[in-house]
Protein backbone atom coordinates (compact mmCIF):
# COMPACT_ATOMS: atom_id res chain seq x y z
CA UNK A 1 0.00 0.00 0.00
CA UNK A 2 1.58 3.26 -1.09
CA UNK A 3 1.08 6.59 0.54
CA UNK A 4 -2.35 6.82 1.96
CA UNK A 5 -4.38 10.01 2.12
CA UNK A 6 -5.39 11.51 5.47
CA UNK A 7 -7.61 14.20 6.84
CA UNK A 8 -5.34 16.48 8.86
CA UNK A 9 -7.61 19.43 9.50
CA UNK A 10 -11.30 19.80 10.19
CA UNK A 11 -13.33 23.01 10.16
CA UNK A 12 -17.07 22.77 10.56
CA UNK A 13 -19.49 25.64 11.00
CA UNK A 14 -23.04 24.47 11.44
CA UNK A 15 -26.09 26.00 12.90
CA UNK A 16 -29.62 24.94 13.59
CA UNK A 17 -30.57 28.55 12.95
CA UNK A 18 -30.07 30.44 9.73
CA UNK A 19 -26.79 32.28 9.70
CA UNK A 20 -27.98 35.60 8.41
CA UNK A 21 -25.28 37.92 9.54
CA UNK A 22 -22.50 36.22 7.62
CA UNK A 23 -22.17 36.15 3.87
CA UNK A 24 -21.33 32.80 2.33
CA UNK A 25 -17.82 34.05 1.63
CA UNK A 26 -17.34 34.88 5.31
CA UNK A 27 -18.84 31.58 6.44
CA UNK A 28 -16.47 29.62 4.27
CA UNK A 29 -13.52 31.68 5.49
CA UNK A 30 -14.38 30.71 9.04
CA UNK A 31 -14.54 27.00 8.32
CA UNK A 32 -11.31 27.18 6.33
CA UNK A 33 -9.49 29.17 8.97
CA UNK A 34 -10.69 26.69 11.55
CA UNK A 35 -9.41 23.78 9.49
CA UNK A 36 -6.02 25.41 8.96
CA UNK A 37 -5.70 26.16 12.67
CA UNK A 38 -6.71 22.61 13.46
CA UNK A 39 -3.99 21.33 11.16
CA UNK A 40 -1.42 23.87 12.29
CA UNK A 41 -1.06 25.20 8.74
CA UNK A 42 -1.13 28.57 7.03
CA UNK A 43 -2.35 29.79 3.67
CA UNK A 44 1.13 29.51 2.24
CA UNK A 45 1.01 25.74 2.80
CA UNK A 46 -2.03 25.25 0.62
CA UNK A 47 -1.21 23.47 -2.62
CA UNK A 48 -4.68 23.25 -4.06
CA UNK A 49 -8.32 23.64 -3.16
CA UNK A 50 -11.52 22.13 -4.42
CA UNK A 51 -14.99 23.38 -3.70
CA UNK A 52 -18.41 21.92 -4.37
CA UNK A 53 -21.61 23.83 -4.84
CA UNK A 54 -24.69 23.98 -6.99
CA UNK A 55 -25.20 27.20 -8.94
CA UNK A 56 -28.97 27.12 -8.83
CA UNK A 57 -29.08 26.55 -5.11
CA UNK A 58 -27.14 29.73 -4.58
CA UNK A 59 -28.51 31.91 -7.33
CA UNK A 60 -25.02 32.51 -8.54
CA UNK A 61 -23.65 31.16 -11.74
CA UNK A 62 -20.04 30.11 -11.72
CA UNK A 63 -20.43 30.07 -7.98
CA UNK A 64 -16.91 28.94 -7.24
CA UNK A 65 -15.30 32.20 -8.28
CA UNK A 66 -16.84 33.96 -5.30
CA UNK A 67 -15.41 31.62 -2.73
CA UNK A 68 -11.87 31.51 -4.04
CA UNK A 69 -10.56 34.04 -1.53
CA UNK A 70 -12.28 32.23 1.31
CA UNK A 71 -10.43 29.00 0.71
CA UNK A 72 -7.05 30.69 0.64
CA UNK A 73 -6.89 30.19 -3.09
CA UNK A 74 -5.69 33.53 -4.44
CA UNK A 75 -2.92 32.95 -7.00
CA UNK A 76 -3.01 29.21 -6.37
CA UNK A 77 -4.12 26.22 -8.42
CA UNK A 78 -7.63 26.32 -7.06
CA UNK A 79 -9.52 26.20 -10.27
CA UNK A 80 -11.73 23.25 -9.54
CA UNK A 81 -15.32 23.28 -8.50
CA UNK A 82 -17.62 20.36 -8.59
CA UNK A 83 -21.30 20.70 -9.29
CA UNK A 84 -21.89 17.91 -6.84
CA UNK A 85 -22.53 17.39 -3.17
CA UNK A 86 -19.69 18.37 -0.85
CA UNK A 87 -18.43 14.85 -0.31
CA UNK A 88 -17.27 14.82 -3.92
CA UNK A 89 -14.70 17.48 -3.13
CA UNK A 90 -13.25 14.93 -0.71
CA UNK A 91 -13.04 12.40 -3.55
CA UNK A 92 -11.39 14.83 -5.93
CA UNK A 93 -9.05 16.00 -3.18
CA UNK A 94 -8.09 12.41 -2.46
CA UNK A 95 -7.12 11.92 -6.09
CA UNK A 96 -5.15 15.17 -6.13
CA UNK A 97 -3.09 14.06 -3.15
CA UNK A 98 -2.53 10.61 -4.65
CA UNK A 99 -1.33 12.25 -7.87
CA UNK A 100 0.92 14.69 -5.98
CA UNK A 101 1.71 13.63 -2.42
CA UNK A 102 3.68 16.79 -1.77
CA UNK A 103 0.51 18.90 -1.62
CA UNK A 104 -1.84 19.93 1.15
CA UNK A 105 -5.26 20.10 -0.45
CA UNK A 106 -8.20 22.02 0.94
CA UNK A 107 -11.64 20.59 0.21
CA UNK A 108 -14.56 22.81 1.05
CA UNK A 109 -18.22 23.48 0.61
CA UNK A 110 -20.68 26.08 1.86
CA UNK A 111 -24.43 26.35 1.52
CA UNK A 112 -26.81 28.87 2.88
CA UNK A 113 -30.33 27.62 2.59
CA UNK A 114 -31.39 30.87 4.25
CA UNK A 115 -30.57 32.71 1.04
CA UNK A 116 -33.09 30.82 -1.02
CA UNK A 117 -36.65 31.93 -1.63
CA UNK A 118 -38.12 32.80 1.72
CA UNK A 119 -41.51 31.48 0.67
CA UNK A 120 -40.00 28.05 0.98
CA UNK A 121 -40.43 27.35 -2.68
CA UNK A 122 -36.81 27.80 -3.57
CA UNK A 123 -35.67 24.25 -3.41
CA UNK A 124 -38.92 22.94 -4.85
CA UNK A 125 -38.53 25.06 -7.93
CA UNK A 126 -35.03 23.79 -8.31
CA UNK A 127 -36.16 20.21 -8.17
CA UNK A 128 -38.59 21.02 -10.94
CA UNK A 129 -35.71 22.68 -12.73
CA UNK A 130 -33.62 19.56 -12.58
CA UNK A 131 -36.27 17.41 -14.16
CA UNK A 132 -35.62 16.68 -17.78
CA UNK A 133 -37.29 19.62 -19.51
CA UNK A 134 -39.15 18.02 -22.39
CA UNK A 135 -40.94 14.98 -20.99
CA UNK A 136 -40.95 15.34 -17.27
CA UNK A 137 -40.80 18.97 -16.34
CA UNK A 138 -44.03 20.15 -17.96
CA UNK A 139 -45.88 17.65 -15.81
CA UNK A 140 -44.07 18.82 -12.72
CA UNK A 141 -44.77 22.43 -13.53
CA UNK A 142 -48.46 21.74 -13.96
CA UNK A 143 -49.08 20.45 -10.49
CA UNK A 144 -51.36 22.72 -8.48
CA UNK A 145 -48.70 23.72 -5.98
CA UNK A 146 -45.01 23.28 -6.42
CA UNK A 147 -44.64 22.76 -2.69
CA UNK A 148 -46.09 19.35 -3.27
CA UNK A 149 -43.60 18.17 -5.86
CA UNK A 150 -40.73 17.00 -3.71
CA UNK A 151 -42.88 15.20 -1.12
CA UNK A 152 -44.76 13.37 -3.87
CA UNK A 153 -41.55 12.24 -5.51
CA UNK A 154 -40.19 11.20 -2.13
CA UNK A 155 -43.41 9.43 -1.28
CA UNK A 156 -43.27 7.43 -4.48
CA UNK A 157 -39.94 5.94 -3.57
CA UNK A 158 -40.89 5.51 0.07
CA UNK A 159 -43.99 3.54 -0.86
CA UNK A 160 -41.97 1.35 -3.17
CA UNK A 161 -39.44 0.75 -0.41
CA UNK A 162 -42.10 -0.09 2.13
CA UNK A 163 -43.62 -2.50 -0.37
CA UNK A 164 -40.25 -4.23 -0.85
CA UNK A 165 -39.36 -4.36 2.81
CA UNK A 166 -42.72 -4.77 4.47
CA UNK A 167 -41.88 -1.93 6.85
CA UNK A 168 -44.61 0.11 8.45
CA UNK A 169 -44.84 3.87 8.89
CA UNK A 170 -44.15 3.56 12.60
CA UNK A 171 -40.80 1.94 11.93
CA UNK A 172 -39.79 4.79 9.66
CA UNK A 173 -40.85 7.21 12.37
CA UNK A 174 -38.48 5.55 14.82
CA UNK A 175 -35.57 6.67 12.65
CA UNK A 176 -36.68 10.26 13.09
CA UNK A 177 -37.08 9.88 16.84
CA UNK A 178 -33.60 8.37 17.11
CA UNK A 179 -31.99 11.17 15.15
CA UNK A 180 -33.78 14.03 16.91
CA UNK A 181 -32.74 12.54 20.24
CA UNK A 182 -29.18 12.10 19.05
CA UNK A 183 -29.06 15.74 17.97
CA UNK A 184 -30.05 16.77 21.44
CA UNK A 185 -27.51 14.58 23.22
CA UNK A 186 -26.21 16.08 26.42
CA UNK A 187 -28.98 18.60 26.50
CA UNK A 188 -32.57 18.20 27.55
CA UNK A 189 -34.39 15.20 26.20
CA UNK A 190 -35.93 15.87 22.84
CA UNK A 191 -39.59 16.73 22.86
CA UNK A 192 -39.94 14.72 19.71
CA UNK A 193 -41.32 11.28 20.40
CA UNK A 194 -43.01 8.73 18.20
CA UNK A 195 -46.41 10.31 18.64
CA UNK A 196 -45.14 13.72 17.65
CA UNK A 197 -43.57 12.35 14.49
CA UNK A 198 -46.62 10.38 13.43
CA UNK A 199 -48.86 13.34 14.06
CA UNK A 200 -46.67 15.90 12.32
CA UNK A 201 -48.04 17.51 9.19
CA UNK A 202 -48.54 15.08 6.36
CA UNK A 203 -47.13 16.18 3.02
CA UNK A 204 -47.61 13.03 1.01
CA UNK A 205 -47.87 9.69 2.75
CA UNK A 206 -45.60 8.64 4.33
CA UNK A 207 -43.60 11.86 4.07
CA UNK A 208 -44.29 14.07 7.04
CA UNK A 209 -42.80 17.26 8.35
CA UNK A 210 -40.75 15.41 10.95
CA UNK A 211 -39.60 12.65 8.64
CA UNK A 212 -38.08 15.09 6.18
CA UNK A 213 -34.92 17.04 6.96
CA UNK A 214 -35.20 20.81 7.13
CA UNK A 215 -32.76 22.96 5.23
CA UNK A 216 -29.88 24.62 7.07
CA UNK A 217 -26.77 26.73 6.61
CA UNK A 218 -23.31 25.24 7.00
CA UNK A 219 -19.75 25.46 5.84
CA UNK A 220 -17.24 22.66 6.02
CA UNK A 221 -13.57 22.53 5.18
CA UNK A 222 -11.24 19.57 5.43
CA UNK A 223 -7.52 19.52 4.77
CA UNK A 224 -6.07 16.46 3.09
CA UNK A 225 -2.48 15.33 2.95
CA UNK A 226 -0.42 12.33 2.13
CA UNK A 227 0.58 10.05 4.98
CA UNK A 228 4.21 11.06 4.47
CA UNK A 229 3.53 14.71 5.22
CA UNK A 230 1.56 13.94 8.29
CA UNK A 231 4.23 12.60 10.56
CA UNK A 232 5.21 15.90 12.10
CA UNK A 233 1.72 17.22 12.57
CA UNK A 234 -0.17 18.07 15.72
CA UNK A 235 -3.40 16.21 15.21
CA UNK A 236 -3.63 12.51 14.72
CA UNK A 237 -4.56 11.94 11.10
CA UNK A 238 -7.75 10.23 10.02
CA UNK A 239 -7.06 7.89 7.12
CA UNK A 240 -9.27 7.77 4.08
CA UNK A 241 -9.35 4.05 3.46
CA UNK A 242 -11.81 3.91 0.64
CA UNK A 243 -13.98 6.12 -1.53
CA UNK A 244 -16.66 5.39 -4.07
CA UNK A 245 -19.30 7.34 -5.94
CA UNK A 246 -21.90 6.59 -8.51
CA UNK A 247 -25.01 7.72 -10.37
CA UNK A 248 -27.96 5.66 -11.54
CA UNK A 249 -30.42 6.23 -14.40
CA UNK A 250 -31.40 9.82 -14.82
CA UNK A 251 -34.91 9.10 -16.00
CA UNK A 252 -37.18 8.37 -13.06
CA UNK A 253 -39.31 6.04 -15.08
CA UNK A 254 -36.41 3.71 -15.77
CA UNK A 255 -35.16 3.43 -12.22
CA UNK A 256 -36.00 0.80 -9.73
CA UNK A 257 -37.84 2.72 -7.06
CA UNK A 258 -37.33 1.89 -3.44
CA UNK A 259 -33.83 0.57 -3.91
CA UNK A 260 -30.76 2.75 -3.43
CA UNK A 261 -28.82 1.12 -6.21
CA UNK A 262 -26.42 4.03 -6.61
CA UNK A 263 -25.39 3.73 -2.97
CA UNK A 264 -24.89 0.00 -3.35
CA UNK A 265 -22.66 0.53 -6.34
CA UNK A 266 -20.72 3.31 -4.68
CA UNK A 267 -19.83 0.94 -1.85
CA UNK A 268 -18.28 -1.57 -4.22
CA UNK A 269 -15.27 0.59 -4.91
CA UNK A 270 -15.07 2.01 -1.40
CA UNK A 271 -15.20 -1.34 0.37
CA UNK A 272 -12.77 -2.89 -2.09
CA UNK A 273 -10.25 -0.12 -1.49
CA UNK A 274 -10.80 -0.35 2.25
CA UNK A 275 -10.62 -4.11 2.36
CA UNK A 276 -14.05 -4.36 3.96
CA UNK A 277 -15.98 -7.57 3.44
CA UNK A 278 -18.50 -7.52 6.26
CA UNK A 279 -19.59 -3.91 6.67
CA UNK A 280 -22.15 -4.91 9.27
CA UNK A 281 -19.31 -6.15 11.46
CA UNK A 282 -16.37 -4.01 10.41
CA UNK A 283 -17.91 -0.53 10.40
CA UNK A 284 -18.09 0.93 13.92
CA UNK A 285 -20.17 4.03 13.14
CA UNK A 286 -21.83 5.67 10.18
CA UNK A 287 -23.22 9.03 9.16
CA UNK A 288 -25.73 8.25 6.47
CA UNK A 289 -28.08 10.46 4.49
CA UNK A 290 -31.37 10.64 6.32
CA UNK A 291 -32.85 13.34 4.13
CA UNK A 292 -36.07 11.41 4.65
CA UNK A 293 -36.50 8.83 7.36
CA UNK A 294 -37.12 6.07 4.83
CA UNK A 295 -33.87 6.93 3.06
CA UNK A 296 -31.75 6.18 6.13
CA UNK A 297 -33.12 2.65 6.07
CA UNK A 298 -32.79 2.28 2.30
CA UNK A 299 -29.19 3.35 2.65
CA UNK A 300 -28.45 1.02 5.54
CA UNK A 301 -29.58 -1.82 3.31
CA UNK A 302 -27.57 -0.59 0.35
CA UNK A 303 -24.48 -0.07 2.51
CA UNK A 304 -24.67 -3.69 3.60
CA UNK A 305 -25.43 -2.94 7.26
CA UNK A 306 -28.33 -5.39 7.17
CA UNK A 307 -30.42 -7.35 4.72
CA UNK A 308 -33.80 -6.15 3.53
CA UNK A 309 -35.63 -8.66 5.71
CA UNK A 310 -33.59 -7.72 8.79
CA UNK A 311 -34.32 -4.01 8.87
CA UNK A 312 -37.37 -4.45 11.08
CA UNK A 313 -35.49 -6.42 13.69
CA UNK A 314 -32.54 -4.04 13.58
CA UNK A 315 -34.89 -1.22 14.44
CA UNK A 316 -36.57 -3.22 17.20
CA UNK A 317 -33.23 -4.29 18.66
CA UNK A 318 -31.75 -0.81 18.51
CA UNK A 319 -28.86 -1.90 16.31
CA UNK A 320 -28.47 1.60 14.87
CA UNK A 321 -29.01 3.46 18.14
CA UNK A 322 -26.18 5.27 19.85
CA UNK A 323 -25.53 2.38 22.22
CA UNK A 324 -26.04 -0.24 19.54
CA UNK A 325 -23.42 -2.24 17.64
CA UNK A 326 -23.54 0.06 14.59
CA UNK A 327 -24.62 3.56 15.56
CA UNK A 328 -26.04 5.49 12.62
CA UNK A 329 -26.28 9.29 12.70
CA UNK A 330 -25.14 9.79 16.24
CA UNK A 331 -24.70 13.46 15.35
CA UNK A 332 -28.40 13.64 14.68
CA UNK A 333 -27.96 13.35 10.93
CA UNK A 334 -29.78 15.66 8.56
CA UNK A 335 -33.09 15.19 10.32
CA UNK A 336 -31.57 16.21 13.61
CA UNK A 337 -29.13 18.89 12.52
CA UNK A 338 -30.64 20.23 9.36
CA UNK A 339 -29.62 19.71 5.77
CA UNK A 340 -27.25 22.19 4.23
CA UNK A 341 -28.06 20.81 0.81
CA UNK A 342 -24.92 20.53 -1.25
CA UNK A 343 -22.58 20.66 1.73
CA UNK A 344 -24.06 18.00 3.96
CA UNK A 345 -22.09 15.12 2.45
CA UNK A 346 -18.85 16.76 3.48
CA UNK A 347 -20.20 17.49 6.96
CA UNK A 348 -20.98 13.77 7.29
CA UNK A 349 -17.32 13.05 6.65
CA UNK A 350 -16.31 15.69 9.18
CA UNK A 351 -18.59 14.14 11.81
CA UNK A 352 -17.14 10.68 11.26
CA UNK A 353 -13.61 12.06 11.39
CA UNK A 354 -14.36 13.78 14.70
CA UNK A 355 -15.66 10.50 16.14
CA UNK A 356 -12.52 8.67 15.06
CA UNK A 357 -10.37 11.34 16.68
CA UNK A 358 -12.45 11.14 19.86
CA UNK A 359 -13.46 14.79 19.51
CA UNK A 360 -17.23 14.49 19.14
CA UNK A 361 -17.91 16.43 22.31
CA UNK A 362 -21.19 15.48 23.90
CA UNK A 363 -22.01 12.67 21.52
CA UNK A 364 -18.84 10.63 21.34
CA UNK A 365 -19.19 6.91 20.82
CA UNK A 366 -16.35 5.00 22.49
CA UNK A 367 -13.84 3.04 20.44
CA UNK A 368 -14.63 4.20 16.89
CA UNK A 369 -11.87 2.98 14.63
CA UNK A 370 -13.60 2.57 11.29
CA UNK A 371 -16.40 4.89 10.20
CA UNK A 372 -18.41 5.48 7.10
CA UNK A 373 -19.69 8.76 5.66
CA UNK A 374 -22.43 8.61 3.07
CA UNK A 375 -24.05 11.20 0.88
CA UNK A 376 -27.05 11.19 -1.43
CA UNK A 377 -27.76 14.16 -3.65
CA UNK A 378 -31.48 14.23 -3.10
CA UNK A 379 -34.66 13.96 -5.15
CA UNK A 380 -34.72 13.53 -8.10
CA UNK A 381 -31.10 12.46 -8.40
CA UNK A 382 -29.73 9.00 -8.06
CA UNK A 383 -26.26 10.07 -7.05
CA UNK A 384 -24.42 8.83 -4.00
CA UNK A 385 -20.95 8.90 -2.52
CA UNK A 386 -19.32 6.94 0.26
CA UNK A 387 -16.08 7.35 2.21
CA UNK A 388 -14.61 4.86 4.64
CA UNK A 389 -12.42 6.55 7.25
CA UNK A 390 -10.27 4.92 9.87
CA UNK A 391 -7.92 5.49 12.75
CA UNK A 392 -5.11 3.60 11.01
Amino acid sequence: MENRVCIVGIGLVESAQSIFELSHKELLFYSTRKALDDAGLERKDIGGAITSSYDFLEGRSLSNQFTLDSIGGVMKPCDLRLGEDGIYSLFAGYMEVMADPSKFVVVASVQKASERDSEGLGYQKLIAASMEPVFSRPVCNSIPNLLGLEPVLAAMEARAFMERSGLKEEQLARVAVKNFNNANSGREKSAINLKAVLESELFSWPIRQLTRAKEADAACTLILASEKKVRAMAQSPVFIRGIGWCSDQSHLAFRQQGLARETKWATHQAYKMAGIQRPDKEINLAEVSDWYAHRELMHCEALGFCNLGEIGSCIADGVFEKEGPLPVNVSGGLLGRGNAIGTSGLTRAAQVALQIRGQANGYQVPGVEVGLAHSWSGIPTATAGVAVLSKW
Partner: protein, 153 residues
Protein backbone atom coordinates in the same frame (compact mmCIF):
# COMPACT_ATOMS: atom_id res chain seq x y z
CA UNK B 1 -23.71 39.21 -43.64
CA UNK B 2 -27.02 37.75 -42.51
CA UNK B 3 -27.48 34.04 -42.48
CA UNK B 4 -30.94 32.52 -42.60
CA UNK B 5 -31.49 30.94 -39.22
CA UNK B 6 -32.20 27.25 -39.39
CA UNK B 7 -35.88 26.46 -38.77
CA UNK B 8 -35.99 25.24 -35.18
CA UNK B 9 -37.30 21.80 -34.47
CA UNK B 10 -40.08 21.31 -31.98
CA UNK B 11 -39.42 23.31 -28.88
CA UNK B 12 -40.96 23.76 -25.50
CA UNK B 13 -40.76 27.04 -23.64
CA UNK B 14 -40.10 27.43 -20.00
CA UNK B 15 -38.77 29.72 -17.33
CA UNK B 16 -37.26 29.31 -13.95
CA UNK B 17 -38.08 31.94 -11.35
CA UNK B 18 -36.35 31.53 -8.09
CA UNK B 19 -36.02 34.36 -5.62
CA UNK B 20 -32.98 34.77 -3.45
CA UNK B 21 -31.98 37.01 -0.59
CA UNK B 22 -28.25 36.94 -0.18
CA UNK B 23 -26.62 37.91 3.11
CA UNK B 24 -24.20 40.79 2.59
CA UNK B 25 -22.25 39.63 5.60
CA UNK B 26 -20.57 41.43 8.46
CA UNK B 27 -18.32 43.51 6.25
CA UNK B 28 -21.00 44.31 3.73
CA UNK B 29 -23.42 45.39 6.43
CA UNK B 30 -21.05 48.01 7.85
CA UNK B 31 -20.04 49.20 4.39
CA UNK B 32 -23.58 49.73 3.18
CA UNK B 33 -24.77 51.29 6.43
CA UNK B 34 -21.98 53.85 6.37
CA UNK B 35 -22.69 54.51 2.72
CA UNK B 36 -26.36 55.08 3.42
CA UNK B 37 -26.14 57.05 6.67
CA UNK B 38 -22.93 58.97 6.23
CA UNK B 39 -22.01 58.99 2.55
CA UNK B 40 -18.75 57.35 3.58
CA UNK B 41 -16.69 54.73 1.85
CA UNK B 42 -15.28 52.34 4.41
CA UNK B 43 -12.48 49.87 3.95
CA UNK B 44 -10.83 47.38 6.24
CA UNK B 45 -7.10 47.49 6.96
CA UNK B 46 -5.33 44.24 7.57
CA UNK B 47 -3.21 44.75 10.68
CA UNK B 48 -0.75 42.19 9.43
CA UNK B 49 0.09 43.45 5.97
CA UNK B 50 -1.39 46.97 6.21
CA UNK B 51 -3.35 46.68 2.98
CA UNK B 52 -6.60 48.60 2.99
CA UNK B 53 -9.29 46.54 1.31
CA UNK B 54 -12.21 47.91 -0.61
CA UNK B 55 -14.75 46.29 -0.88
CA UNK B 56 -14.07 45.59 2.77
CA UNK B 57 -13.90 42.08 4.09
CA UNK B 58 -13.50 40.57 7.51
CA UNK B 59 -10.38 38.73 6.46
CA UNK B 60 -7.40 39.49 4.29
CA UNK B 61 -7.18 36.92 1.52
CA UNK B 62 -3.39 37.12 1.46
CA UNK B 63 -2.62 36.83 5.18
CA UNK B 64 -5.74 34.75 5.65
CA UNK B 65 -6.49 35.99 9.14
CA UNK B 66 -9.34 37.94 10.67
CA UNK B 67 -7.32 40.86 11.98
CA UNK B 68 -8.84 43.97 10.46
CA UNK B 69 -9.75 47.47 11.51
CA UNK B 70 -12.23 49.76 9.80
CA UNK B 71 -10.90 52.88 8.12
CA UNK B 72 -12.53 55.59 6.09
CA UNK B 73 -11.41 55.83 2.48
CA UNK B 74 -11.48 58.95 0.34
CA UNK B 75 -14.25 58.84 -2.24
CA UNK B 76 -11.72 59.72 -4.92
CA UNK B 77 -9.31 57.73 -6.96
CA UNK B 78 -7.65 56.80 -10.22
CA UNK B 79 -9.39 55.33 -13.23
CA UNK B 80 -7.76 52.01 -14.04
CA UNK B 81 -9.98 51.15 -16.97
CA UNK B 82 -13.39 51.89 -18.39
CA UNK B 83 -15.79 50.74 -21.06
CA UNK B 84 -18.83 52.07 -22.90
CA UNK B 85 -21.90 50.43 -24.38
CA UNK B 86 -24.59 51.54 -26.77
CA UNK B 87 -27.07 48.83 -25.87
CA UNK B 88 -30.28 49.85 -24.16
CA UNK B 89 -32.21 47.52 -21.88
CA UNK B 90 -34.52 46.54 -24.71
CA UNK B 91 -31.66 45.74 -27.05
CA UNK B 92 -31.96 48.84 -29.23
CA UNK B 93 -29.00 51.02 -30.02
CA UNK B 94 -28.56 54.19 -27.99
CA UNK B 95 -27.23 57.47 -29.36
CA UNK B 96 -25.30 58.25 -26.20
CA UNK B 97 -23.44 55.39 -24.57
CA UNK B 98 -23.43 54.50 -20.93
CA UNK B 99 -20.06 53.88 -19.32
CA UNK B 100 -18.67 51.80 -16.50
CA UNK B 101 -15.27 52.23 -14.92
CA UNK B 102 -13.05 50.63 -12.33
CA UNK B 103 -11.54 53.18 -9.96
CA UNK B 104 -8.77 52.48 -7.48
CA UNK B 105 -9.62 54.57 -4.46
CA UNK B 106 -6.92 56.76 -2.95
CA UNK B 107 -5.35 55.42 0.20
CA UNK B 108 -6.63 51.93 -0.42
CA UNK B 109 -5.52 48.78 -2.15
CA UNK B 110 -8.94 48.36 -3.59
CA UNK B 111 -11.60 50.04 -5.59
CA UNK B 112 -15.05 49.87 -7.00
CA UNK B 113 -16.73 49.33 -10.32
CA UNK B 114 -19.53 51.71 -11.17
CA UNK B 115 -21.07 54.01 -13.76
CA UNK B 116 -19.21 57.00 -15.13
CA UNK B 117 -21.25 60.14 -15.48
CA UNK B 118 -20.81 63.76 -16.53
CA UNK B 119 -18.30 62.72 -19.15
CA UNK B 120 -18.03 61.50 -22.70
CA UNK B 121 -15.99 58.51 -23.78
CA UNK B 122 -13.62 60.77 -25.74
CA UNK B 123 -12.72 62.61 -22.55
CA UNK B 124 -11.84 59.49 -20.62
CA UNK B 125 -8.25 58.47 -20.08
CA UNK B 126 -6.82 55.63 -18.06
CA UNK B 127 -5.11 57.17 -15.06
CA UNK B 128 -7.35 60.20 -14.68
CA UNK B 129 -8.63 61.35 -11.32
CA UNK B 130 -12.24 60.45 -10.52
CA UNK B 131 -14.59 61.20 -7.65
CA UNK B 132 -17.74 59.54 -6.37
CA UNK B 133 -21.11 61.23 -6.65
CA UNK B 134 -23.57 59.96 -4.07
CA UNK B 135 -27.32 59.76 -4.46
CA UNK B 136 -29.39 62.04 -2.30
CA UNK B 137 -31.82 59.28 -1.34
CA UNK B 138 -29.84 56.24 -0.27
CA UNK B 139 -31.05 52.75 0.59
CA UNK B 140 -27.98 50.88 1.74
CA UNK B 141 -26.76 49.21 -1.43
CA UNK B 142 -24.16 49.85 -4.08
CA UNK B 143 -26.58 51.98 -6.10
CA UNK B 144 -26.37 54.63 -3.37
CA UNK B 145 -23.42 55.70 -5.45
CA UNK B 146 -24.76 57.46 -8.50
CA UNK B 147 -21.57 57.39 -10.54
CA UNK B 148 -17.93 58.38 -10.75
CA UNK B 149 -17.18 61.65 -12.47
CA UNK B 150 -13.88 63.26 -13.48
CA UNK B 151 -12.57 64.90 -10.33
CA UNK B 152 -13.19 68.61 -10.17
CA UNK B 153 -10.04 70.56 -9.49
Amino acid sequence: MTKKEKEPGMTINGEIHVKYRWAVGKAGERFFNELKENKKIMGTRCRQCSRVLVPPRIFCEECFVENMEWVEVEPKGTLTTFGESYFSTDGKRLKEPWMLGIVKLNGSDGGLIHFIGEARPEDMKIGMSMEIVFRDKREGNIMDILYFRPAKK
